[in-house]
Symmetry: C2
Subunit: 357 residues, 2 copies
């Protein structure tokens, strides 16, 4: 098995990265190279067509091996970032071979036998994993949940109204490529002022999106669920409820794609059990692990994707108390959807599994 | 006075367009050339530095005259699109000369002696104008208010939570130029994946915006008001209340700039007095004047700025009932911020003034 177990790492647990060549997988390898190193061998696994490729992790080259049952032999923890149907098939295989699976797909998140874990919010949940699988939340949920969890712990959350400004890398390499190709077609033109002019310039080149995303915003992410809701919107609602342990929390969500490469933003209207103050909210956010409070509009300080991309924390700005409801707060939240929104949280959960064992 | 009164127009009222050379003024002239023609002379007025320029309106060339007291002689209705401080000074001058002013600045909107009018929602309000001034709402309010007004008339609005996706032309020609220049700097690059890389590429070229807007979203519009609110957010709240005649309506707003040239979008969470149904809401929206219901996600139908730009109506899609509250609806709304959001509504109000006289 072609893995990368450097000197001095014997006796440490073996980690597998499944989906190592994808948009999230690529960031997983960067993150594994940056964090305190708890792993022995790191084994890179991908589809057979990527097998044999060499990728760098922890400053060493490792060869990608094909996804097979045997690939999980000796693996202690396997981080999965693959499509739902691949996870559905292969996560139980890895678990049966003795690995604890930390899965970033949507396949297991709402399974009552699978914990859905954000280390800053519900770390203890990782212990009870009867299927040997731990789920990682959706990137949109993850981009806000650390900040919300901290506020909930103090104030008690009673209702959420959320709108997203989602980056194209949420749709993988293809999403990024599509935006870049579309930008090349519209930059330097007068497009964006006549009905359909962007659509005509872009033609069929909409990639994974239903509409052009350059010079546009698209109120759709995922697939169609009942009553006009998108799967992405349902995920934000259902996962937020599960992570916070509030199964009846009212959550209203509209998910919108924007022409940003990486980093999801969200506006959050959060209503709590009693009266809140901005001062107390700011004190909580300023000290919460994994949160950066960046909120001084007088000095032009509020988070934007251009500054947040590539960083680990959840950035929070525009903290205001609702003018007409002393129990509600307004926030603007940014999180790198490939890092905390996917690869980082998966890596944190994988480490938690090892520490808790 | 250099005006444009074509043949057969004698006896009709004289219209002045003040701020004729701006982003909104340009669209005003297009709209005046497209709508049923009720005007005699159309007089184009702008700052002295634009005087003498020739602009086309109704297929004829008209020379821009400088903004002076005498420029309003013989004017029946004057449409203003100028900065607040210019409107503050000159709207009363025009009114004193006998013109009814329809002002698109923020100077008079909350003046109790000045009606704030959207012809589809509160047309009768135009009649009582003791100062001789009628105000036109802010473009963000206008991009949603026609749809909301129709739903309010049936269901009775009780609360609003709104997030905006605002186009750069809301900041005028300079906003559009800034986005286009920034797009030329980022297109064809790998930017958007490292902290600050877009900011470094753009440099000081942020124009009227506090942060880069290409490959970014910026949670700020307008100036800082008390408790961290932006002036744009306060406008949406205060103007919505005034237009709908609901002075105590709870309205929570977060305004965000997006890299779209023209057409504002909004997510709307609207709570009503009693239970609502999606079927009834769709029936109302499908028949409301000035509204297009475009809502069939199964067929990929929802409004986006790329399709809505250049059109007159308010487009509504993603109509859903809140999953956890039978009295609330979720909507995604798009409106061309230069047309219905500014020039079109101003022209409609000007026509209403003439018809009601």
């Amino acid at each position: 098995m072609a893995g990368a177990a450097g000197p001095g790492r014997s006796g440490r647990p073996t980690l597998a990265v499944v989906g190592a060549t994808g948009a999230v997988g690529t960031v997983m390898l960067q993150i594994l190279s940056q964090r305190a190193d708890v792993w022995g061998e790191i084994r890179l696994i991908a589809s057979p067509r990527s097998a044999g490729r060499k990728l760098a992790v922890r400053g060493e080259e490792a060869e990608v091996v094909a996804l097979t049952e045997e690939a999980f032999d000796g693996v202690d923890v396997a981080m999965f970032d693959v499509p739902d149907e691949v996870a559905e098939r292969w996560a139980p295989v890895a678990a049966a071979r003795g690995a604890v699976v930390v899965d970033n797909s949507g396949a297991f998140r709402m399974d009552p036998e699978v914990p859905l874990v954000v280390p800053e919010v519900n770390p203890h949940a990782v212990r009870r994993r009867p299927r040997g699988i731990v789920a990682n939340p959706n990137c949109t949920t993850l981009s806000m949940i650390v900040a919300l969890g901290a506020l909930h712990a103090e104030f008690g959350l009673r209702e959420l109204v959320v709108s997203s400004y989602q980056a194209v890398s949420g749709a993988g390499h293809a999403g990024v490529r599509t935006l870049r190709e579309q930008l090349s077609l519209v930059a330097g033109t007068e497009l964006g002022t006549r009905p359909g002019d962007v659509r005509r310039a872009v033609g069929d080149n909409t990639g994974p999106f239903p509409e052009p995303v350059a010079l546009n915003v698209v109120p759709w992410a995922g697939s169609l669920r009942e009553d006009g809701w998108s799967s992405e919107e349902m995920k934000v609602r259902d996962e937020t409820r599960k992570i916070l342990g509030l199964p009846h929390l009212p959550v209203a969500v509209t998910c919108v794609r924007v022409p940003v490469v990486t980093t999801h933003s969200l506006t959050v209207h959060a209503r709590f059990e009693g009266e809140v103050t901005v001062d107390k909210a700011r004190e909580i956010l300023a000290t919460a692990p994994g949160v950066v409070l960046f909120d001084n509009p007088a000095a032009g300080e509020f988070p934007t994707p251009a500054d947040v991309v590539g960083t680990d924390p959840t950035w929070v700005g525009r903290v205001r108390r609702a003018l007409d409801d002393p129990t509600a707060l307004e926030l603007f939240v940014c999180g790198d959807n490939l890092r905390k929104g996917a690869a980082l949280n998966t890596a944190q959960v994988a480490e938690l599994v090892v520490v808790e064992q």
